[in-house]
């Protein structure tokens, strides 16, 4: 026990046991201090002064507090999250959507839902959880690329992902409230700008938050390493698990064009590098690569197909030799295709991960197969 005999007023104000006596005054405290004061009568005024100070400091209650109703809302919200998670997201997010804090709230809701997705995906062993995964599937669409070529996936807001062979992508059917995708493998993303609803890519425990437009994410199941490469715009990368655990605050990293980050979870380390050669889709290179002067349609299509690693099908005989002047470097993939199609009076669609271009004047002819 501390020897209090030489304590002055301020020393008592640094002492937990003394302050607790004044604030909480349990039996044990009272017994100790009355006995101590009996043995140290000369310290009575010092103790009384310190007591006076401790008990005189009070705090004015806040004007803003949580009402009982709001507490019940929180309880209800949390219970929903624990039981029927997927459906109830909509209800809550709608509520915040209407408020002026929508921006912040939307971001937080996205983060909240992730926590659960991981929980559910990782614990599919119990039958009850299986059911929840199924309800989840109705809200999410999945694409698994088992073919040998990349697949284009268009999401509801028009953002595109080029999914590499052997990779899988799961994304929310409607991006009206949040733009959340889960990636296993490698994909190139071209994301439409929408500051109100951040675009988030989850891969294992890593999250890429899109602040700009295009980038590649690469992660492999067996291998824990994780890589993000940025072509244009700006992205924020962080480890969701570490961020939630709060072990390291400096756990996020911002990437700008021609930078890549590699993350090794075992070492808890981000390795950020600037690429020695700028990417073909970065602004400075793309401008040269995607400015066409009297160039045949077939060459332009070939270029797009190669750079984005996508399959483009079109009628070579009919369209291939039409020459074009075009500068399409600043357009995302879908805009690029749209522009060149407009120029040759053709239309296009995304189908089964491919881009199908059809000449306009053939539209009335029924396809021969299927």
């Amino acid at each position: 026990m501390t020897n209090y005999t030489n304590y002055e007023v301020e020393d008592f104000l640094h002492d937990d046991f003394f302050i607790d006596w004044v604030l909480k005054g349990t039996e044990a405290h009272n017994t100790f201090w009355s006995e101590w004061l009996l043995n140290n009568p000369d310290k009575k005024s010092v103790v009384e002064n310190a007591r006076f100070i401790v008990s005189s400091v009070t705090v004015k209650p806040l004007d803003t507090t949580l009402s009982d109703t709001e507490v019940d809302e929180i309880v209800g919200y949390i219970k929903n999250r624990l039981h029927n998670k997927a459906e109830d997201d909509n209800v809550v997010s709608l509520k915040f959507y209407q408020s002026k804090y929508f921006k912040v709230a939307a971001m937080l809701l996205v983060l909240v839902s992730i926590g659960f997705l991981f929980v559910k995906l990782k614990s599919t062993t119990s039958p009850q959880l299986h059911q929840q995964v199924n309800t989840l599937n109705s809200e999410y669409l999945s694409v698994i690329n088992t073919s040998a070529k990349s697949k284009v996936v268009q999401m509801s807001d028009g953002s595109l992902a080029v999914l590499k062979p052997g990779s899988g992508l799961k994304y929310i059917r409607s991006f009206a409230k949040k733009r959340d995708v889960i990636l296993d493998g490698e994909a190139f993303f071209e994301v439409h700008k929408n500051p109100a609803i951040p675009f988030l890519v989850h891969s294992n425990d890593m999250v890429v938050r899109v602040l700009g437009t295009s980038f590649t994410v690469r992660s492999q199941k067996g291998k824990q390493d994780f890589k993000v490469i940025v072509n244009t715009g700006k992205v924020l990368v962080y480890d969701n698990k570490k961020a939630a655990a709060g072990t390291n605050r400096q756990n996020s990293i911002i990437l700008v064009p021609n930078q890549q980050v590699t993350y090794q979870p075992q070492q808890l380390k981000f390795k950020k590098e600037t690429l020695p050669v700028p990417l073909i889709l970065s602004e400075e290179i793309a401008q040269k690569e995607f400015t066409f002067d009297n160039t045949p349609f077939s060459v332009i299509v070939e270029k797009i197909s190669k750079v984005y690693d996508v399959n483009i099908e079109y009628d070579k005989a009919k369209l291939g030799n039409i020459s074009l002047n075009a500068s399409i470097s600043k357009k995302p993939l879908d805009e690029k295709v749209k522009l060149i199609c407009t120029a040759v009076n053709a239309s296009f669609e995304f189908k089964d991960g491919r881009i199908i271009i059809s000449a306009q004047n053939q539209q009335h002819i029924q396809p021969i197969t299927k």
Binding site: I19, L23, T26, E48, T65, V71, L82, L108, L236
Partner: protein, 194 residues
């Protein structure tokens, strides 16, 4: 004041905590009901955005549930929740502000009063107003320590962990705070006891 806020050692807390850790949802709900207001109150002093903070409080409780197997058997509920909410506020804010950490120049909103029943005459009232002024102009960290120790009744070890500084730093900051109104306090005390 002290007793009212002393949730830490309330008799049923350790029981609630044990039940909660064993996965009892009723106990978990009781913990939420019991602590969400006090956690909100603390958080609001750091960040005055109600909806943002409500989300933080929700997340903190969800995280508590998800981590229940790994959580300490000691029922230091308030300490744990305060630490979690403070961390989350700073982290979410810095994420929103593109990674710029905010916690070095945060505000800590608190208005201190001097217990009025102790003020016996006008002269004392004037002095206590002075002390209150000094208290209310302290830098945020010092104010936060005063708040957590004298209002929330948390001990210095808990405060150090909540604020992520050493216990020595807590005492150093407290000493600086006391220094500011040492002279005023002494006058009040002299008058009070004369």
């Amino acid at each position: 004041m002290g007793l009212e806020h002393n949730f830490l050692t309330a008799p049923d807390d350790s029981e609630l905590w044990d039940l909660f850790r064993a996965g009892d949802e009723v106990a978990y709900t009781q913990l939420i009901k019991k602590y969400s207001k006090v956690v909100f109150n603390y958080g609001f002093r750091i960040c005055q955005d109600k909806d943002f903070l409500k989300d933080c409080v929700q997340d903190v409780f969800l995280e508590l549930w998800n981590r229940k197997e790994r959580i300490s058997p000691t029922p230091a509920v308030k300490w744990y929740l305060f630490k979690a909410v403070r961390l989350r506020i700073f982290r979410e804010q810095s994420k929103w502000n593109m990674g710029e950490p905010l916690d070095e120049n945060y505000e800590f909103l608190v208005e201190f009063n001097i217990e009025t029943k102790m003020i016996t005459d006008l002269e004392n009232l004037e002095l206590s107003n002075k002390i209150r002024q000094v208290l209310n102009t302290l830098p945020p960290r010092q104010r936060e320590i005063m708040y957590l120790r004298f209002y929330e009744g948390l001990d210095f070890d808990s405060i150090a962990q909540i604020m992520e500084i050493s216990k020595q730093s807590v005492h150093n900051l407290l000493q600086k705070a006391y220094k500011n109104f040492r002279s005023e306090w002494l006058v009040v005390l002299l008058m009070f006891w004369r």
